[in-house]
């Protein structure tokens, strides 16, 4: 391929044709700041923070969308460039709520960092009219504060392009432009699926999860309550990022130690319930295949996906596995079987979960998720909220010792662990189904289903297990789910089993995960690095199949009888409801 030669700050660099100045500069080792730019998703050159000087060009150009040409000379750090960037930041500040001290995003705000980096001295340099927006707290999972919005449209882009939901976008024009829902409907009354991808895309504090840490602190301080905590598979490989650890660090032991020091009575693992999900879901799949039930069966672990299905594809509700999600199964077992074991009234148990997800906050309030007559889970915190509690408590996270989960609900397998990555549920199910249907005992490489691993949005595979030929699909990101569901609907695909996760890459890339600025997200595959940490740990684990989890075996012996039993249905299964799209 013919390469294009240019100089960035006098450093020569050769890049492929069509490369933008931003990417060429990076290849020359020069960082150009951005604000609205999200690679492949939001390339609109709107914020004008990435402006650079190009020799011979009439004015400054936006590096994020400006293609390179042969012999181009780019200067990214001249007085003219710095002044322009500072001026643009001052203009953005003129319509920004500058209550940074009390902002949840303070310290992680991309806008705040740029203002510091470019020496903005007068935050009121362009004082003038401002629109005061009402804060939208109508949704159970998040808060929208347009007074902090800088109109970069990153949220709207991920909602529309990754999730194909598009419930938020830019309305009105000029000075009145604002990000909101159609007809200014409160977010909670729309077909928002609660995935939270907009929150992790937001460079400022305009979008945030509904913080419930105060409720947890109050519960922990209440002597009447037994406060239990469970941690989702994907949270252990991301929590370290909030404390400066490298992306893809498994900090499970330190997270357990931190939770114990925060005062939780028992620190348990959602991985346990993921194993339980496999027992019920694999059984449900075999039953559906044998008894002519609705196929393809589709996984039900991801509450963002479930809500999407209910709003946008209600005709697939019979295809959804009736299994509660691992979070909810965990709470159900904790408040029934475990409550009896420890002799505590389930009303006095406060079940807290640490989730990579904002939709879990919606899920805890769903109907038919109260096995003990009280909600299975009381409070779902995001990984970010846990990090906040750890900071409030003054714990030095990186220096904490590594500790183990409590028994029995902290006992897990590698199968439960890989639920945190796209394809993980499918692989865990296949590991168990293979042993069950062939009467074998697979181990080592036979436990690796590489076709369903990896971060691609849609993966397909066909497996022969015993007499059964199983055609499966795995998809993550709801835009991909839509493609697969349309193909099934039109008779172009005949899968028996589909795994769908709302967030691209699965839970490791969930909407409740620690923030990474666009400067990282644009150049590092977050979801791949985080998933790798899960798969690496799985490979080292002694138990890698859900049905071999000794605590699960004991639970069935003492309480649940067998997968799909009457009592299992009472405790572990749920129902769904069609919801309006508009």
């Amino acid at each position: 391929m013919e390469m294009v030669n240019l100089k960035v700050n006098n450093i020569p660099v050769s890049v492929a044709p069509g490369t933008t100045v931003l990417e060429a500069a990076r290849q020359a080792g020069v960082q150009i700041p951005t604000l609205c730019y999200l690679k492949d998703i939001n390339e609109i050159g709107a914020c004008r923070i990435c402006v650079v000087e190009v020799k011979g060009a009439r004015g400054l150009v936006t590096a994020c969308v400006y293609p390179v040409t042969e012999g181009m000379e780019v200067f990214t750090n001249t007085k003219k460039v710095r002044d322009a960037r500072r001026g643009n930041l001052e203009l953005l500040l003129s319509c920004h709520d500058k209550n940074c001290l009390a902002c949840v995003k303070s310290g992680q705000c991309e806008f705040q960092k740029l203002c510091k980096d470019y020496g903005v001295e007068d935050v009121d340099a362009f004082k003038g009219e401002r629109i005061q927006y009402e804060i939208d707290d109508s949704a159970p999972h998040m808060i929208r504060d347009n007074n902090k919005c800088i109109l970069c449209r990153r949220c709207a882009a991920v909602c529309r392009k990754w999730q194909d939901v598009g419930v938020i976008g830019a309305n009105e024009r000029g000075f009145n432009t604002n990000i909101s829902c159609a007809f200014e409907t409160p977010l909670g009354e729309t077909s928002c699926v609660s995935c939270g991808q907009c929150i992790v895309a937001c460079p400022t504090g305009a979008l945030s999860e509904k913080d419930q840490t105060k409720e947890v602190w109050d519960a922990l301080a209440d002597p009447e309550k037994v406060v239990l905590v469970q941690t989702a598979p994907a949270t252990r490989v991301t929590i370290g990022e909030a404390f400066g650890m490298p992306i893809g660090t498994n900090a499970e032991g330190k997270m357990v130690a931190a939770l114990r020091r925060l005062g939780f009575a028992k620190v348990f693992d959602t991985n346990f319930a993921a194993d339980l999900t496999i027992m019920e879901e694999a059984n449900e799949l075999v039953e559906r295949i044998q008894n002519g039930g609705a196929l393809p069966m589709i996984t039900s672990c991801s509450p963002g996906w479930i809500k999407y299905c209910e709003h946008y594809f209600p005709e697939f509700i019979p295809n959804l596995s009736t299994c509660k999600s691992p979070q909810q199964m965990f709470g159900a077992v904790a408040k029934t079987w475990y409550a009896k074991q420890i002799g505590v009234d389930p009303k006095n148990i406060v079940m807290v979960s640490i989730m990579p997800c904002t939709a879990k906050k919606f899920e805890v309030g769903r109907d038919n998720e109260s096995a003990a007559g009280v909600p299975d889970v009381d409070i779902a915190l995001t990984t970010r909220e846990l990090a906040r509690m750890i900071e409030t408590a003054g714990l030095d996270f990186t220096s904490l010792p590594d500790e183990d989960y409590d028994a029995p609900l902290g006992i897990d397998t590698g199968a439960g662990l890989i639920f945190g990555a796209t394809g993980g549920v499918m692989e865990a199910a296949l590991r168990t189904a293979a042993d069950w249907l062939t009467g074998g005992n697979a181990s080592g490489d036979a436990l690796v289903y590489s076709d369903v691993r990896g971060t691609e949005g849609i993966k397909e595979a066909t497996y022969t297990i015993g007499d059964l030929t199983l055609k499966v699909a795995v998809c993550s990101g709801l835009a991909n789910a839509k493609k697969v569901l349309r193909a099934v609907k039109e008779g172009k695909a005949d899968y028996q089993f589909i795994e769908i996760m709302a967030c691209p890459g699965g839970c490791v890339n969930g909407g409740g995960q620690p923030f990474q600025p666009a400067s990282v997200r644009n150049f590092v595959d977050l979801k791949a690095l985080r998933a790798k940490a899960l798969y690496n740990t799985d490979a080292t684990m002694e138990l890698r199949k859900s049905h071999e989890n000794p605590a699960i075996k004991k639970l069935y012996e003492e309480f649940l009888e067998k997968p799909g039993s009457h009592v299992a249905h009472e405790v572990l299964h749920t129902s769904y409801v069609a919801r309006p799209k508009y």
Binding site: S138, G166, G169, N171, R173, F183, E184, T185, P186, Y582
Partner: protein, 165 residues
């Protein structure tokens, strides 16, 4: 927060409904279909209420928010029907310096609607307009074809009373 979904009661005729479906069908799948569909739909209904936008979103397989974003971006599109009495206040230069802004504010306050909107009973709609060529009478407003000039905010009550307020 309040939604703008509920405005004037929407009622369409079977003919309008069929026409809208034809418009959508003739543009479906084409790039940039939304603008012509919105323009033609507004020709059919006179405005673009929630029900019409939702039908277009579903028909073109795009989010309702995207439709609404375009409708609110362009001044040519209206979310509200015109009332039985169409009130226009001139905000052109001459009228504006003579205080038509106050007239406009007073009308919004009296009618309980903003510019561009229509009262829920369908009786009055309010718009700002540019010079109507009656600068000698500034500030002016019109109610349907009736022109009122040399206005003061205090005149508004009497004028509206003539139309049953």
């Amino acid at each position: 927060m309040s939604s703008k979904k509920a405005g004037v009661l929407f009622q369409d005729t079977p003919e309008q409904k069929q026409k809208l479906e034809e418009i959508i069908a003739s543009h479906k799948g084409q790039p940039g279909a939304l603008m012509p569909v919105l323009q033609q739909a507004q020709d059919v209904y006179g405005y673009l209420p929630y029900e019409v936008q939702a039908t277009i979103a579903e028909g073109l397989d795009i989010p309702l928010e995207e439709v609404y974003g375009v409708v609110t971006f362009y001044a040519q599109f209206s979310l509200y029907p015109k009332g039985q009495y169409k009130i226009s206040v001139c905000l052109g230069t001459a009228c504006y310096v003579k205080g038509s802004g106050d007239i406009y504010d007073k009308l919004q306050q009296k009618l309980g609607i903003k510019g561009g909107e229509c009262t829920p009973d369908g009786k009055f709609s309010l718009d700002a307009c540019r010079c109507i060529g009656a600068c000698g009478l500034a500030p002016v407003m019109t109610v349907n074809d009736e022109v009122y000039g040399k206005l003061l905010p205090d005149d508004i009550d009497d004028i509206l009373a003539k139309y049953g307020v």
